[in-house]
Amino acid sequence: MSSRLLNILGGLTVVIMVSLALLVMIYGGSPNPSQSADAPRYGGPFTMVDGYGRTVTERDFKDRPLAIFFGFTRCADVCPTTLIEMADLMAALGADADRMTVLFVTVDPERDTIEILRDYAEAFDKRIVGLTGTMEQVAAMAKAWGVYFKKMPTTDGDYTMDHAAGVFLVTRKGNLKGTLDLHDRTPGVNLAKLRALVR
């Protein structure tokens, strides 16, 4: 009797662990996608400037699913490859990509002027919206998303930016649904997450 109970308990444990693993696979790792009332809230209001010099806030993207990621243009490898992946995903989504907004937020507003950021983002896909602002505005938005960034001096007075990678997926209601890991080359995983977001 007790061994049967143990078997059932063991089976249940396996089922729960597999379900948890699946959830993690589907929704990505940190931050926790299940934004319950007592969980830290990601995102929230922001005021930034788009590639056409317009002041934009979260209200301008109301009722639209969002994919938000942070980066900078003076970056030779990871930022272009991230944008290439994003643009490929948007192309694969087809018309569904028009129902969402992709925000590329600079962590280097000193060098990423409005025009530079617009030309850069739109070169990958015209629909990618580059956001910049004052250092305070950028810092506030990064903080709201729990995104670390830091200026690191290099040579000749130059500098590079350390920053948190990863793409936040936000529902129409403004809740965090999960993240994309663009280094995940498993075919279809990121596309499935975006499809689920715009559905």
């Binding site: 003076r74 030779a76 490898d77 272009p80 075919p187 279809g188």
Partner: protein, 166 residues
């Protein structure tokens, strides 16, 4: 069309290591090689830069067939104010980009790949953006093998590592 590409990618992935190996050999064979002493530079490429970009990346393989290690100590190019060898490292979710200090070590009998997500060349302050189809001259300076002049083929803006040599 995109669907086709995705399916194609999946098929390729499933085809396994054998196919990858064949594809790799083909890529290396088809690409330009540059040699000095025991060092061979294979398949140097870059990708077109967005209109306002001030920097560009560069990728290649360095093959050391000798019994002694060597070091890539400098890179020069007339198209950029400065060229650095960079290494990208993920520290948890934080991405850190650093110039390699004291040269990039190429151990004996070893190939070091400069490819996306690891080491790469960073062309800083471009005289002009990289345009698809252009050929970018650069000189790699090795401690023992000396200078090796190479030319990087500029692939389209959306080119991915798997497409190099195409």
């Amino acid at each position: 069309m995109m669907e086709g590409r995705i399916r194609c990618f999946r098929r390729r992935t499933l085809a396994g290591a054998g196919m990858a190996l064949i594809a790799f050999s083909w890529t290396v064979a088809a690409a330009q090689e540059y040699r000095s002493g025991n060092i061979v530079i294979a398949n140097p490429w870059s990708r077109a830069t967005p209109p306002s970009a001030q920097v560009g990346g560069g990728y290649l393989s360095i093959v050391n067939s000798g019994t002694e290690g060597d070091r890539l100590i400098a890179v020069r190019s007339p198209v950029a104010r400065r060229v650095e060898v960079h290494e990208m490292k993920m520290d948890g979710t934080i991405m850190r980009m650093r110039a390699v200090e004291n040269g990039l070590v190429i151990p004996a009998k070893t190939t070091v790949n400069l490819e996306s997500g690891g080491y790469h060349l960073m062309f800083i302050d471009l005289a002009a953006g990289f345009v698809k189809g252009a050929r970018i001259p650069a000189t790699l300076v090795f401690e023992k093998a000396g200078d090796i002049d190479v030319v990087l083929d500029v692939l389209p803006l959306g080119a991915k590592p798997a497409e190099r040599g195409r």
